[in-house]
């Protein structure tokens, strides 16, 4: 029991204690149990639920990259969907045209996307967050136009095809098997980012976010860390996109407009800016919200509410309105997102009978 509870007050006396990933043994056990539980999911759930879990994993990785940029460095990107798509096309191109094994194509796609991200991020990294927002907005339009035009790369108006994922000659088929690929990437990505945030570089990013002038006076190179953070964001967007490509097996540029970039922003804000586990919660929220609205509208079919709102025909618009309204609500009422709420619930139960 000794290590399973956090004592009142802060008794960290060493750097090792300060930078530990799991504050208590219980929290570590819970994290391991969570991964094991996720690994058992394919045995219990049907295809529909597996596809949702895979979507959460893929978008979660991309949103994690955005959280490093938005939550930890305080820079904003409105072109994340374009970078996600760039990763998808790159991996598809590498696996089909260059016959690179998919196992290597995915990280390679991440690296290429990071380089492209840096090209757009560099001019803005010298300036404040606002300018990066506008530069990424331009990137969104320029990249999408490029995909529509470059037939050698993205197939133009014909969707590009991607090879199915294979490892040591074993072809991964179906949602239930592909889930393990996504799960492995999710675990590795989240560990990478958690460790990054414990390191010197991670602390520098947070310093840039909290007060960039003080950070610069302390000897942190602002341009370097803003650029680095943007590169990391683009890298994870590329990884997510590559996983998406090998899952869908066809990639089309349609549906990756600015609305999709806003969805990524929604994932990060709803989950909690600067919270690594919150990213996953936010992604789950955004992925499940349309499904939940679908279930509700199915349950209400034929009723009075259905008739007045015209749910069946207007569900797409209502969904968009809901996403926008939820982003605003979170920003106004709960700027720290679901992760903060989760901590409060935990604290409540920990202190249960005596809440104060």
């Amino acid at each position: 029991m000794a290590n399973s509870l956090i004592p009142a007050g802060d008794f960290r006396t060493s750097y090792a204690a300060d930078t530990t990933i799991f504050p208590t043994v219980t929290s570590r056990n819970f994290a391991i149990a969570g991964v094991l539980l996720a690994a058992c999911a394919p045995f219990m759930l049907n295809d529909y639920w597996m596809s949702l879990l895979i979507a959460i994993g893929i978008y979660g990785i991309a949103a994690l990259g955005l959280n490093v940029l938005l939550g930890f460095t305080g820079q904003i990107s409105i072109g994340h969907a374009a970078f996600f798509l760039f990763g998808a096309f790159t991996s598809a191109y590498l696996s089909t045209k260059m016959s690179v094994p998919t196992f290597f194509a995915i990280p390679l796609a991440g690296a290429v996307t990071a380089i492209v991200g840096l090209i757009f991020g560099l001019p803005a990294a010298r300036l404040k967050g606002l300018y990066l927002a506008i530069a990424t907005l331009a990137a969104q339009y320029i990249l999408l136009d490029f995909f529509a035009r470059a037939e050698w790369f993205s197939g133009g108006s014909v969707p590009a095809t991607a090879e199915p994922f294979s490892i040591f000659g074993y072809n991964v088929t179906g949602d239930h098997q592909y889930f393990y690929v996504v799960l492995a990437y999710v675990v590795v990505s989240f560990l990478l980012v958690t460790n990054l945030m414990r390191s010197r570089d991670g602390r520098a990013l947070i310093a840039v976010r909290d007060h960039y002038l003080s950070a610069e006076i302390m000897g942190i190179n602002l341009t370097k860390y803003r650029t680095l953070s943007f590169g990391i964001a683009a890298f994870f967007a590329g990884i997510g996109g590559a996983l998406y490509a090998h899952y869908q097996l066809v990639v089309s540029y349609e549906g990756f407009g600015i609305e999709r970039s806003i969805l990524f922003l929604a994932m990060v804000i709803i989950g909690g800016l600067g919270s690594i586990m919150g990213t996953l919660m936010g992604t789950a929220f955004v992925v499940l919200l349309p499904e939940a609205m679908e279930w509700i509208s199915a349950a209400l079919r034929g009723g009075l509410i259905d008739q007045t709102l015209g749910l069946k025909n207007n569900i797409t618009f209502l969904r968009e309105i809901a996403i926008g309204a939820i982003i605003i609500a979170f920003l106004v009422f709960e700027p720290d997102g679901l992760a903060h709420r989760w901590h409060q619930i935990k604290a409540y139960w920990k202190l249960y009978p005596f809440s104060h």
Binding site: L70, I134, I327
Partner: protein
């Protein structure tokens, strides 16, 4: 080289450019007064155009009555947006404020599709004659009207800031909020007012575009095209915004001419402003007239 086409396109560019200028002007107005980067500017055009359309088509209101009603509606709408969504965000980090306006644009865009449908709707004709002849060039009447309305709005804005009491209060607030407050200016009212004026001016621009091209959700692209214009002109300069808008409008049409005559890439019209945007950010990030942001600690 097709001179006739080039001149035609440049005239188009001038007309569209002044409209960009008007929208950019109302964007800069909000930015200067309240430090909010408004990603929902295009949606203000959209809402204004749809309201005017609904008044004229659904309720059979004549144009000269529908236009003032739309303007009053948008004035109130602007105040409401500021009070409900932006006022709680005062003092929050700039990123959060940007996010609120982005979310607002999603909500308004979807709401307009929900209420008015996804199909573009033609605007009822306002002028009896289709085109007038100016120096031997056939120019559509609506274009002439668009140019006149845009210039009138720019002149009105210039008068407002130079001579009127509220305009001066707004400039004082933009200069230094604390000083303005100690002079007895209600900063709260100035914030609400700047949104109201911006929404009204945008709505007029929206109606003008709608009269030319019809009403559709594509109108909100004006809110995106504003960014190249204001970055070119300098983010906090109203004159720069107008000039930037005109340059972007001309450049777009010139790109289309080059594309159509020589390159045949297609779609250069749409993306050329964004390439310009990236180049400006690289070489002259504060634009032509923007104030250089020098911080002293």
């Amino acid at each position: 080289m097709n001179t006739q086409l080039l001149i035609q396109l440049l005239v188009n560019g001038l007309v569209v450019g002044t409209l960009y200028g008007v929208v950019a002007m109302s964007f800069v107005l909000i930015y200067k007064a309240t430090q909010v980067v408004n990603f929902a500017q295009g949606e203000l055009l959209l809402v204004g155009a749809w309201v005017c359309w609904a008044l004229m088509v659904k309720y059979q209101v004549p144009f000269y009555a529908a236009m003032p009603i739309t303007m009053v509606f948008m004035f109130v709408f602007g105040i409401l947006i500021q009070m409900v969504f932006l006022r709680p965000m005062i003092g929050e980090p700039i990123i959060s404020v940007i996010m609120v306006t982005i979310a607002l644009s999603t909500v308004l865009q979807a709401a307009m599709k929900w209420i008015f449908g996804v199909n573009p709707q033609p605007f009822p004709p306002i002028f009896t004659s289709q085109s007038v002849s100016v120096f031997g060039l056939q120019i559509q009447t609506v274009y002439v009207m668009s140019l006149i309305v845009s210039l009138a709005m720019m002149a009105a804005m210039a008068w407002f800031f130079q001579a009127s009491k509220h305009g001066l209060a707004m400039r004082a607030t933009a200069f230094d909020q604390q000083v303005a407050q100690s002079l007895g200016i209600s900063v709260k009212n100035v914030f609400a007012m700047s949104w109201a004026i911006s929404a009204t001016v945008s709505a007029v621009a929206g109606v003008v575009v709608a009269v030319v091209n019809g009403v559709s959700s594509g109108l909100s692209i004006y809110g995106i095209k504003v960014f190249p214009a204001v970055i070119l002109g300098g983010l906090d300069s109203i004159a720069g915004a107008v000039l930037g808008g005109i340059i972007i409008g001309l450049l777009e049409n010139f790109a289309q001419f080059i594309d159509g005559q020589y390159l045949h890439w297609g779609n250069l019209y749409e993306v050329a402003p964004f390439y310009v945007l990236i180049i400006i950010l690289m070489i002259k990030p504060y634009g032509l007239f923007g104030t250089k942001d020098i911080e002293r600690v």
